[in-house]
């Protein structure tokens, strides 16, 4: 094109500097910082892999890793399943379906932090209606995020309330991208509704479903705000996910090395997930017509 060689870079410079300094450089800082220690006097020193070695002997880290994995093992398949069910329910045209769709995606406009506050109030015994409702139907009031056995489940519920409608949108787009004539061909070929779902819809939804699963996992590995707002990692560490550990290490225990070591581990996990996601988007629709 008719341009000097420099022009594109002048256009790119502000954004690229921003991305490099505030997105890329922190990755390096995390890795470098995870290999430093801070003395009581506050000076930094290179300590190699000592932070990691220490982490791996630290019961609190292992328990936090366990919580994080458990959380992700439950929440990601759960959100995928709920989102897919919602997408199937609102897929076909029908009376007022647009309105249901709108209601279902409303929570995506509520930030994670505000969702946590909202449910903190909603589930509160004195302020919110939910425990009253549970009493009324005979189940009895529950402590939810204040109970060691229920806290993680409560957070999963809140995050699913917020996230299901959002992920539904991607699956809905996937459903719309299946040509209706393919469904009709199956109908003429004699497939029952269930057979059409299992033999046509489900296999053709593999890609959008994988995308949702991977992207959702990336987000949920970094779950933070509701833990900070509602449980502070408790009760008894039952919701102390890795991101919260990273925060605590830096701001409560002033152990920046540990915080960055945890961040580095999380970053590695996230980068692997992102690589997966990229492959998914790149791969030409393997067999698509």
């Amino acid at each position: 094109m008719l341009s000097s060689r420099l022009t594109p870079f002048l256009f790119l410079a502000p954004a690229l500097i921003g991305l490099v300094v505030f997105r890329l450089a922190p990755i390096g800082i995390a890795v470098a910082g995870s290999m430093t220690g801070t003395s009581l006097m506050g000076d930094l020193s290179f300590v190699g892999l000592e932070n990691f070695a220490y982490l791996f002997t630290d019961a609190e880290f292992w328990s936090s890793l366990q919580v994080t994995l458990l959380f992700n093992l439950i929440i990601n398949p759960l959100q995928l399943a709920v989102a897919f069910a919602l997408a199937l329910l609102v897929f076909q045209q029908g009376r007022a379906i647009w309105f249901y769709r709108l209601l279902l995606v409303l929570p995506m406009a509520v930030s994670t932090g505000l969702s946590a506050v909202l449910f903190g109030l909603f589930l509160d015994g004195n302020l919110g209606p939910f425990n009253g409702f549970l009493e009324w139907i005979g189940i009895g009031a529950q402590a939810f995020h204040r109970n060691q056995d229920q806290a993680l489940g409560t957070l999963i519920g809140i995050a699913t309330w917020k996230g299901a409608g959002y992920w539904m949108l991607f699956l809905l787009a996937g459903l719309y991208s299946i040509p209706s004539s393919v469904q009709e061909a199956a109908l003429i070929d004699g497939a029952t509704p269930w057979q059409r779902f299992r033999l046509v819809t489900l296999p053709l939804m593999r890609k959008p479903m994988a995308f949702v699963l991977v992207a959702d996992t990336a987000i949920n590995f970094l779950f933070f705000a509701p833990v900070y707002i509602l449980t502070s990692g408790g009760p008894s560490g039952s919701t102390s996910v890795l991101m919260y550990q990273a925060y605590l290490s830096a701001f409560t225990f002033s152990d920046l090395g540990r915080s960055l070591a945890i961040s580095t581990i999380l970053l590695m996990i996230i980068l692997i997930i992102v690589a997966l996601e990229l492959r998914l988007l790149r791969s030409p629709e393997d067999h698509a017509a």
Binding site: F9, A15, V21, L106, L114, L222, E277
Partner: protein, 281 residues
């Protein structure tokens, strides 16, 4: 084929039944909060034993809780959030649209690699780098300042991507014709490309606005000083205080939710389409 199924009356009833229950579950907490924020102070507490329709419907509606907000720390938080969000929108639009234009209009060395950086930057959730970014920002001496809240959020891979997609959809002839007429690239960007891209500008503004309005982790880490507390942080603090102004918390939470939700509702069509294009292309 859609009709044959939709006409089965049992299936229709089941479908709408399920949808109604789900939609109720989704909307109920929001509706409850909206109504509760209009309660008189005396009715805020809801003893578990007194569950009934009064639990949801106040005996009278009042704006007292909202009026009381004006005197607390909330106006400052609103001010902080507004400054941060609006500044980010203004700078973010310019910076990211310029970059998006470069990716769409020019061929240059390293283009694919740089675009990969853009894509990775928005696939990697921001939370992943909050801790090391904090190290960087405090190294620069920016903690507890608007700078810390705004500058790292200006460059945004998703917005670059959206602008690139839009600018790439304009035929190159369009730009080249203007080039032949002697226009500079900056002129073309500002007076030809940007005016055509208003839908992208609108969704991008909303995305940038929400990215700031909703952000919590970064402000908690980078600007924990009450003077710089943004709305989300101020509200989150209040829920953990033993306090007597629960009505104020209801009102501020509801207000913060509405400020995020109303532009979303107005623009949800565009917004949803852009989101999906970023995810699945």
């Amino acid at each position: 084929m859609t009709e044959t199924i939709a006409r089965n009356p049992l299936a229709v009833a089941l479908r709408y039944g399920a949808l109604s229950i789900l939609a109720f579950a989704v909307v109920c907490p929001l509706a409850w909060l909206a109504l509760a924020s209009l309660r008189p102070q005396a009715e805020i507490f809801q003893p578990v034993s007194e569950f009934g329709w009064r639990t949801f419907v106040p005996s009278r509606l009042t704006l007292d809780n909202y009026r009381a907000l004006m005197s607390g720390d909330f106006p400052l938080a609103l001010r902080n959030s507004s400054i941060v969000a609006v500044t980010t929108v203004v700078f973010g639009l310019v910076v990211n649209a310029l970059a998006g234009f470069a990716f769409a209009a020019f061929d240059f060395r390293g283009k694919n690699l740089l675009f990969l950086l853009v894509i990775v930057s928005f696939m990697m959730p921001f939370e992943a780098i909050v801790m090391p970014l904090y190290v960087l920002i405090s190294g620069l001496g920016w903690t507890n300042s608007y700078k810390a809240l705004i500058i790292p959020e200006v460059a945004n891979g998703m917005i670059i991507f959206l602008f690139r997609q839009f600018f790439a959809s304009i035929p190159k002839d369009f730009y080249e014709a203007a080039r032949v007429d002697g226009a500079s690239w900056l002129y073309i960007w500002a007076f030809i490309a940007m005016p055509l891209s208003w839908p992208t500008i609108a969704t991008s503004s909303l995305m940038l606005f929400l990215s700031q309005w909703d952000s919590f982790f970064w402000p908690v880490v980078a600007a924990s000083d009450p003077d710089y507390a943004v709305v989300q942080v101020a509200i989150a603090r209040n829920i953990n205080f033993e306090q007597n102004d629960w009505g104020g918390l209801f009102a501020s939470t509801n207000l913060a939710i509405l400020i995020g939700m109303i532009p979303f509702l107005l623009m949800q069509r565009f917004y949803v389409r852009s989101l999906i294009s970023g995810g699945i292309k």
